[in-house]
Amino acid sequence: MMEMFYFHLHLQAMEQDKPWALISEVGGVSQMMEMFCVLPRQAMEQDKPWALISEVGGDCGLLEDHLDIVKHHFQVLCYQDFLQNPELHGPKVQALLMWRYYPEARPALLRMLPSLKVVSSGGAGVDHLDVAFINGLGAKVSNTPGVVSRATADLAMGLLLASARRILEGHRVARDPETRRIPLNLQGADVSGATLGIVGMGDTGFKIAQRGHGFEMDVLYHNRNRRSLEDEQAVGATFCQKLDELLTRSDFVVLAVRLTSETAGLIGTRELELMKPTATLVNISRGQVVDQDALVQALRSGTIRAAALDVTHPEPLPRSGKHSVSQSHVQMTQKNIETDS
């Protein structure tokens, strides 16, 4: 009966070209019907497909502020609720919205979602997903490249500068109860005019080059493919066919590659030894791009000056890391997410 009522309303609207208005419920609407076609919120809701998320809030969940963005298009099912009755809820789920790697797209979970059409991952990296396997189940995988580039490039420069100019130590000294005089021996490394070597010149790498160029840095880059001449000129970048050349010449080596079988362990003992003893390694890719044991050795022995890491493997690290500026994997800012709506 209700369905017929709604259908009738729909036809009326089509005929009369009236705009649609969303109301909370049907009741006392005759006057409104003169002006608008009305469709209760409940019906609208029921049309929306179901999406599985990890949770709202907490360490790994979607932020409350952003839930409205999701709810605009989906009915939302939290993982804990799904687990209450997977047989009931599973078949409804058409989308798995993965935020900060959760809920994990494990085969065991995916098999409980027969209607799944897509695993939509927030972030650019998809190294945590078995894309072939998911595709094999008839579901697509999507990510969010592009929108992450600016904020990631900003953080790369933030880490580079913080390490070079010893911001952490400076802040500590400034606040230390024992500090009585300004120390004059807290010397850092020059950023302006230094050589910046970018490994991986995709969207993020290019933005890092742009920022480095603003600091009058000499920009080198290594990439599977060379960029166009216009691109290179725009940021004053010089292509290094060989990674080794970039490593030997750079004062700051920034890793901006995707994690693949080719880039796993890209920076090991040999590569670190090619770097200048005054050089800094900055990593905003994935922890596994670097051989972490080799890195620890290199830092302890003074093979390189310092490391600044937004990513490690695992995250967080088992409690260690005395020599590096280590940043947790938090390069996405609030505004960046807000503008996504």
Binding site: L63, D154, L161, R181, V191, P316, R319, S326
Partner: protein, 366 residues
């Protein structure tokens, strides 16, 4: 030349053997004379007064730049015997505003020709008074700009993206999950308002442009159109407009009576509640009490300061306890390369002034 004439005379008058013997002596004399000449030259190096060679004063690398041009006496030794040392000193090489240039000190340095400051800021010097004693004042502009602009951007980014907190979380033994509370604010494409568009301010604009930031600036005088276009900067004749529109307000003025307490309660209230104040000028450009209140009440989001008043702050100062304040201990020029360039420029200025020549960076009172 006297030696040569002497040689010719000896050769004419004496037998070869005797001449040969004498020539050996002459050569010895010549060597001695040359040595004496060198010693005189060395002694002719003027004397310079410095604070001390230590972590708090001059690093060894800096002293190596000075030594070829000056005999050095440090302040402690000078104080041991002011009557003896004072009259020798022709240059005061001032680093980190020490020793304090007061009339009482200057009266002990009757031969002083120059107070050569390491650094561009000379707000700690009474230039007219020093000039009235026949002493020049010099500073080191230009060489400090890159490093200072870099620290301004470093502070801006570290504050915006919570680098310090992030590091602390990453290192915290109790952390098992990475919290979402480390959300920062966007730097790219935000609005950077630069107050003071001199050499340093301009370099900051250049760096901000690399982040696609919208650049506003306020200055006593407007820059040329070419300058503005090169960094995409828009002039704000009224500083209030800059304060209202900026996400990051960067102070890059020098400290003068006009810029003292330039940023006070009213100016902070005009800023966005999401805005960050970054100061690489001097502590006194900001009314620190007003700043504390603004940070405590959320009038502005955060502050990042390389400079305070005094330096360092008293250990119980409220700024040290606020979670949304990042402070560095005046490290704006603290890279070895920049430090050496500054010392070189300071020495060049002092050498010229002592010789009575025009110093490249003499500070003239307005």
């Amino acid at each position: 030349m006297t030696c040569l004439c002497y040689l010719r005379c000896v050769r004419k008058l004496w037998t070869p053997a005797e001449a040969s013997q004498l020539l050996k002596v002459v050569n010895l004399h010549r060597s001695v004379h040359q040595l004496q000449h060198k010693k005189v030259m060395a002694e002719e190096k003027p004397w310079a007064l410095i604070s001390e060679v230590s972590e708090q004063g001059y690093l060894e690398e800096m002293v190596d730049v000075i030594k070829p041009h000056f005999h050095i006496i440090n302040y402690k030794d000078f104080q041991q015997n002011q009557q003896l040392h004072g009259p020798k000193i022709q240059a005061l090489l001032l680093w980190n505003a020490f020793p304090v240039v007061e009339p009482s000190l200057l009266s002990l340095l009757p031969s002083l020709k120059v107070v050569a400051n390491g650094g561009v800021g000379i707000d700690h010097l009474d230039v007219p008074y020093i000039n009235s004693l026949g002493v020049k004042v010099t500073n080191t502009p230009g060489v400090v700009s890159n490093a200072t602009a870099d620290i301004g951007m470093a502070l801006l980014l570290a504050s915006a993206r919570k680098v310090v907190e992030g590091h602390q979380v990453a290192m915290d033994p109790k952390i098992t999950h990475i919290p979402q509370s480390l959300m920062g604010v966007e730097v790219s494409e935000s609005t950077l308002g630069i107050i003071g568009m001199g050499h340093i301010g301009y370099k900051i604009a250049q760096r901000g442009k690399g982040f696609d930031m919208k650049i506003l600036y306020h200055n006593r005088s407007r820059r040329s159109v070419e300058d503005e276009q090169a960094v995409g900067a828009t002039y704000c004749a009224n500083m209030d407009d800059l304060l209202k529109e900026s996400d990051f307000v960067m102070l890059a003025v020098n400290l003068t009576p006009e810029t003292t307490r330039l940023i006070g309660h009213r100016q902070l209230s005009l800023m966005k509640p999401t805005a960050t104040l970054v100061n690489v000028s001097r502590g006194l450009v900001v009314d620190q009490d007003a700043l504390v209140k603004a940070l405590q009440s959320g009038t502005i989001r955060a502050a990042a300061l390389d400079v305070t008043y005094p330096e360092p702050l008293p250990r119980d100062h409220p700024l040290l306890g606020l979670p949304n304040v990042l402070i560095t201990p005046h490290v704006g020029t603290h890279t070895l390369a920049t430090t050496i360039k500054m010392v070189q420029q300071m020495v060049d200025n002092a050498v010229a002034a002592v010789k009575g020549q025009t110093a490249p960076n003499e500070v003239k009172p307005k």
